[in-house]
Amino acid sequence: MNWRRIRAIAEKDLDEVRKNRIAVVSSTILAVVFSIILPVIMTQAMVLEGGTSSDNITSLIPPALQEEMGSLTSQQQPVVLFLGYLLAPLFLILPLILASVIAAEAFVGEKERKTLEALLHTPATDAEMFTAKVVASAVPAVLYAWGNFVVYTVVVNVASYPIMQRIWFPTPIWLPIMFWIVPAIALMGTAATVLISSKVSTFMEAYQASGGLVVVVLGLLVAQISGILFLSPLIAIVVGSFLFAADAFLIWFGIEVFSRERLVTRM
């Protein structure tokens, strides 16, 4: 493995992603909505309304959290429940989408814009090209999720201060999510797109196909809300481990798909 070549390919791919309007616009919009607009609306609604009828909320709180939530006021409860717990799986959409967009650009973009053959003529090995493109997709996606997490932390604490009277975010569940599940999800978006890329020939097709993965995350959210799956730090670690195992499997297939021979003959 020649790291200079890997770095050159990854940097070139990111240069190209920066010129892709869909990638830039969609990741900016998502960042603003999730990290700023959502927490602000939520807290301001509570400030204005002065709390909800506590029956509704109490029925939503899973047994595991009853104790912790019990000590909160009816104005504080929804803030902690929504911003501290329910939104957590939704935050996984950020790295998932960015990883898929970059991977679509890196793996299908070359094919679509007919630049692949010159790259294949270079001494870069199949493994180097594959690694570079996976790194270029997954690493920025993870950094992006972390960046959003920092902004979200600040916005949540500031906006909810009038209600909470203390700095309460992040709750423990966020740490395994951010540092364990987010990297797993970013890799998953990448690996799935690599597999899709062998079947499609345009960026848009790849982008749309991998958008289907978002459904998986929305499923997690629904499970979360309906109380079937309540993310505790332990469950987060287990879920993350399963995702990593699935990643390893997908990447193994991806390496099979990503060979010069196949890329040239399917060009």
Partner: protein, 312 residues
């Protein structure tokens, strides 16, 4: 001089199509070798095989002694390829395109900038270096793609139709550059082209492909000799020839006089080497030679004769 490229029964099929069919040939170091043949004959497939982009179905090939089967990555580090289409990152600048490929081909970081600048200047793109490649005209894209192939100064160049789409003077410049690379820098070149005049001017030897097979391989002269047993030589004399000239020439093996028209005679010789022999025989018979023009067969004639032979 060593051997740059050697193949042995090289074959590649795609489903029912045999794109390259049991080809055995070699390219000498420092030589310009032309690969000719109609559309779909297998030229681009040959370039891909010799760069280990695709593997042979059977047979083998080596590039500077390295096998394309086992050492594909090191083969690719010794070659520079001008692909059939320019393959440029159109949303990146010309300079960015070249620095990217420079890094992949292992140009040292300290030399990279000056190497890129020099190559851009060499190919007349210095004043457009920071413009996006997508804004270039077809000819400029072709030159940038050529810059990419030359940047790391590889000992072996593959040029797949380098002058297609270029205006006549740009095509001439590219031809000059190829000649310079070979004669002055000792680089080996494999040139795929449909331009037979260009091939005749540049190539030391050519290989003619048809349906994946190499139907002929050699220098233009060798091919002409193989196709036609004799060649015509036009000779102008100061005064009409002596009447017995036909007999005198006819007596020499491999020579014959075909026609006399006033002061112009046409002689047939079996080989090029016999031209001086014919001239001295004429002079010996009292002919006053003014001008001798061997009518050598052009590559174009050879090409069409070969294709015709192939069809029948």
């Amino acid at each position: 001089m060593g051997v740059a490229v050697a193949t042995e029964g090289l074959t590649r099929t795609f489903g029912a199509v045999t794109a390259v069919d049991h080809i055995t040939f070699h390219i000498e170091e420092g030589e310009v070798f032309g690969l000719l043949g109609p559309n779909g004959a297998g030229k681009t497939t040959m370039v891909r095989l010799l760069n280990a982009l695709i593997l042979p179905t059977s047979g083998s090939a080596t590039v500077f002694g390295k096998s394309v089967l086992q050492q594909g990555d090191s083969v690719r580090s010794m070659t520079g390829v001008l692909t059939e289409s320019p393959n440029l990152y159109e949303r990146l600048s010309a300079r960015r395109n070249l620095t990217f490929f420079g890094r992949l081909y292992g140009v040292p970081e300290a030399d990279l900038k000056s190497r890129v600048d020099r190559t851009l200047t060499w190919l007349g793109l210095a004043d457009r270096a920071d413009d996006l490649a997508g804004t270039f005209s077809k000819g400029m894209k072709q030159r940038l793609a050529l810059a990419r192939a030359l940047l790391h100064d590889p000992p072996l160049l593959f040029l797949d139709e380098p002058t297609s789409g270029l205006d006549p003077s740009a095509a001439r410049e590219v031809d000059t550059l190829i000649a310079e690379l070979s004669r002055e820098r000792g680089r080996t070149v494999l040139l795929c082209t449909h331009n037979l005049v260009e091939a005749q001017r540049l190539c030391d030897r050519v290989g003619v492909l048809a349906n994946g097979r190499m139907i002929a391989c050699g220098s233009v002269q060798e091919l002409a000799q193989r196709l036609w047993s004799s060649m015509a030589v036009e000779i102008d004399l100061l005064v009409p020839p002596p009447p017995d000239l036909g007999e005198i020439l006819g007596a020499i093996p491999g020579l014959s006089m075909v026609t006399v028209e006033g002061t112009r005679i046409e002689v047939r010789v079996n080989t090029r080497e016999q031209v001086p022999e014919a001239v001295s025989a004429i002079v010996g018979a009292g002919g006053q030679v003014l001008r001798v023009v061997p009518r050598e067969h052009t590559l174009e004639e050879i090409y069409f004769a070969l294709q015709k032979e192939e069809r029948s």
